[in-house]
Amino acid sequence: MNQMHRREFVKRVGLSAAALPFLMGLPSLGLAAPARPRQRLIIMFSPNGTIPGAYWPDETGSDFKLKEIMSPLEGFKDKMLVLNGVCNKVRGDGDNHMRGMSCLLTGIELFPGNVMGGGGAPAGWASGISIDQEIKNYFQSKEETKTRFGSLEFGVGVTDRADPWTRMSYAGPNQPVAPISDPYQMYHKLYGQLKDKESLQSVLDDVQSDLKKIRKMISAEDRQMLEQHETLVRQMEKDLKEGEKKKLVAPAPTLDTGVSASQNDEVPHLSRMQVDLLINSFVNDMARVATLQYTKSVGQARMNWLDIKDGHHGLSHEPDNNEDAKKKLTKINQWFAGELNYLLTRLAETPEPGSTGSMLDNTMVIWTNELGKGNSHTLDNIPFVMAGGGFGFQMGRSLKLDKVPHNRLHLALAHAVGHRIETFGKKELCSAGPLDLS
């Protein structure tokens, strides 16, 4: 294959990888029982900060109450870990939204560049890999945790532009990974080969009869080649039938048709489609790491479905004494919690393939945001809420930590999957080691 610009390659890999190892190269889709429980990681993002008073529980420890924003998550309280006091301490070029977003998962400064934000010096992309990609690479490096894609990057309503406000996942320095916001494109990435095979299978009979007809027309000397050709086509048909026996654990889902990925009002619909595809891809073990990015930093989603006509980012700038804005922002964030609840519910009701329990038992979901608070643009007290299991963390708690750098949380995630790196992102912020969440 052509050597492509690496960033482009990562961007395109969705389509081209689906076209690559075409027929026979398709790895077995059947699942054997895993030797040890799988570990999976999902990072969900929603933008523009939160309303701290309606978000953080007042209590610490296992006896805590969920406030208004997190109320949709009540059913998963005993599986949740609320982390107050985690701060993005990365400084340098770029405004707080840019650093909030592009340093959120990378924990390292942005390069100098030409993107001018609402403050600070102009900046470019993050100068390091993000934790989701780091863990993906670790999984992909080992036979027992390797999957077809390693990681999948889902987007919901992410605008079609590439800048430090729209990218949180990085394959490396200067290598932002674009989330796929179009469920049909994601579907093609996941199941395109399968559909190609179906189309191919449907025409092979006609190809054969074509060859037979023509064989009769041509001279004996030339016939041999066509006979060989026929044998090969027969062989291919056989191989395809063989391949069919290796059934997927879950069949490819049927998507609603005609949903436009760029339509603001389709966001709720798109959200569910993407979550369903995510669950489906995990059941079929196509990846063990995923990100799910709702809009982008400074995202201006208009949540008409909540009867809110203002853009999300605009609202988030309103001062604390604007009660109406506060109410709307609480509602908006509550809606995101509801989508998280849907994700957790789907995971909880899906049995772990080849094992006991549910997929949620072996999946850690993290819901985060690029800012602690919208109108102050603080990078302190970034919302980090975890839910799920399998990482050895003691769940069902609310913690108040003492302004710990978020790099230490990333280290804890890496260590939890067995990837015992000393530092992640900016070294100086890692000196106290991984957060102890056990």
């Binding site: 052509n2 482009e8 800048d163 200067n174 025409v203």
Partner: protein, 762 residues
Amino acid sequence: MSQMRVVLTLFLAGLLMATGQVQAAGRKAPSGADIFRKQCASCHGKSGQGVHGKYDEALHGDWSIEKLARVIDKTMPEDKPETLDAEGSMAVARYIYDAFYSREARDRMNPARVELVHLTNRQYENTVADLLKVFSSDNSKIGKERGLAASYYNSRNQSKKAFSRVDSQVDFNFGTGTPDERVTSTNEFAINWSGSLIAEETGTYEFIVKTPNGMRLWVNGRDEPLIDAWVASSATEHRASVKLIGGREYPLSLDMFKFKDKTTSISLQWIPPHGAQQVIPKRNLSPVTVRSTFVLTTPFPPDDSSVGYERGVGVSKSWDEATTQAAIEVANHVSSRVDRYARVKTNDAEREAKIESFCVEFVEAAFRRPLTDEQKRTYVSYQLKSAKDIETGVKRVVLLALKSPWFLYLGLEEDKTDAYAVASRLSYGLWDSLPDKDLLKQAAEGKLVTQEQVAAQAKRMLGDARTKSKVQDFLHHWLQMDHVEDLSKDSKLYPGFTPEIIADLRTSLNLFLEDAIWNGKSDYRDLLLSDSLFVNDRLAKFYGVKTDTQEDFVKVKLDPKQRSGVVTHPYLLAAFSYQKSTSPIHRGVFLTRKIVGRTLKPPPVAVAFQDANFSPHLSMREKVAELTKDQSCQTCHSVINPLGFSLELYDAVGRFRTTDNGKAVDAKTEYITDDGETVHLAGARDVAEFAVNNDLAQNGFIEQLFHQIVKQPVMAYGPEVMDRLRQSFIDSGYNVQKLLVEITTLSATHSGKKVTSNGKKT
């Protein structure tokens, strides 16, 4: 070491042969035929055709008798190789070589015929590219002007246009200022360059954009940028590669903007196939934007080229899989853009009907002929009807069409004079691609019947860029430029012979070939005799050529005593040289096979030239003469060496020289022709003069051109064809373009009846 062993083995074999002959006088040794019948035929078949389940493959190949004997002695019969001694092995080897193993034997057994062939890889790639072009209405052509159309703006979002002009290339450093006084804002401005890229050779093109600013580059289509660095982020160099088919133009667009950056600069560079990194030269840019071309990315297994040219014989599993994957690639491309191809709007009430008629057109173009009603039902209507939605239906139509023998094979028609078959033979002959609208129209109107009608079309088709591309393909094959990869030399001995010089030399040779064939007289003799060379500034300096050129290539006349066409082109002289010295053997073999048209058997013993084995005072000529003085070598080297030595006046990088290793170069040789005549040669020009006047050399050129164009054995068109082609070649003043028309017409109008007569036409 292993060479030593080979020599020894051979020596022993020789000894044994000698003893064998002595013994033979005493008792009658079994003949090779007897041995084969008794010990080999059970697995290999009576005529070496192979036995299913034992040894399936036919015993065909190009090993020498000696090598065959050696291998047989060591390994055969498989169960007990000791039962066959060297003498017996040699007898068997001689027998099978003459009976069926060698090419000569096979030719004798199977007289040449026009075979059913599938598309070669080159043909496949061109065919799908042109197949999709059928459905594009925009036919903009690049004119003579070179460079890129540039638009300069006083804003970063290209809203306030300052001025436009044509830039010959993109290589600017505006520093902290602006590109031009008409751009007034130093803080923010933007530039777009657009036009077309002229790709000379097929392969992977790497693009490099150097800039500290934000930029996007599109090559061959606006669907997605090849490089997206709109966010400038510390990296100032961006690279990406894309495959392009040579001999075609591709749309290119480059956007850049400055916004508060300290400085502004940009350089658009590339590394073309066989090239070195450089700013994309003006020569390869046009300000006219052409439409994009579909370039297949599916890799194919290499074509069979066992007979010296690529042709579509034999099918293999990997080929079948490649054609399948390629069909899927095209099907996905078409079905995801079906509205664009069918020229229909998504909400058109007639959408399905219009897509159906697009599908019919698509299959007709793919099959290179109109469909019968029954075919329309099978290939189109049924597929569309039985798919769950129209996109899937289109996918099935494309898949079926591209997997069909009607697409994959050439020559399926029972009636070889069928007008559409003639059209295809013409287009695949000159273009390696499908017939254009004109040809299909002529076929439909029954106007591809007479020699004159067909020749008129061939003449028209010469003007198409695809003919040039195909002829370049032939010339590269002829001059072995298609396999040359590494021309680099020892940097201490040949300082300054850089990758840039090597890339320039290839360009120089390409320009020379194009000029010789397509400008002026198109005289074959000019290819060998011309005293001109294309040089740019860099080459002129390195080769000591006086010219006032600054950058781009110009044609300069050189001393005819020193330069003679391709024979002395430095690219080839360097290609047929060692890293530290010339190689009269490589040069000699090239001249023997390609320029004077003689055949050589593979060497009986592979001997590597090792400079350290010779006295340091010898000249290269003396070393080679010493190395090949053995009688067994001289069978061929008596031909190779004189030709190779005649080029000793050129060093390993192709510079003219008069001394070698401190001695005056002796380029005087005596060459024995195939008729046994002695010709005195005193240098490159003498070789070239000899070749252009020699039957065999002319035949060699004609035959190689024929095979490369037609991809069928020339003998299949009758034993007198070679003589006829040569005569008209001579009559035309050795006009290569006319020869192309003659060859294409002849093969296109061939009735397909087998020619069995022997002997020459009287």
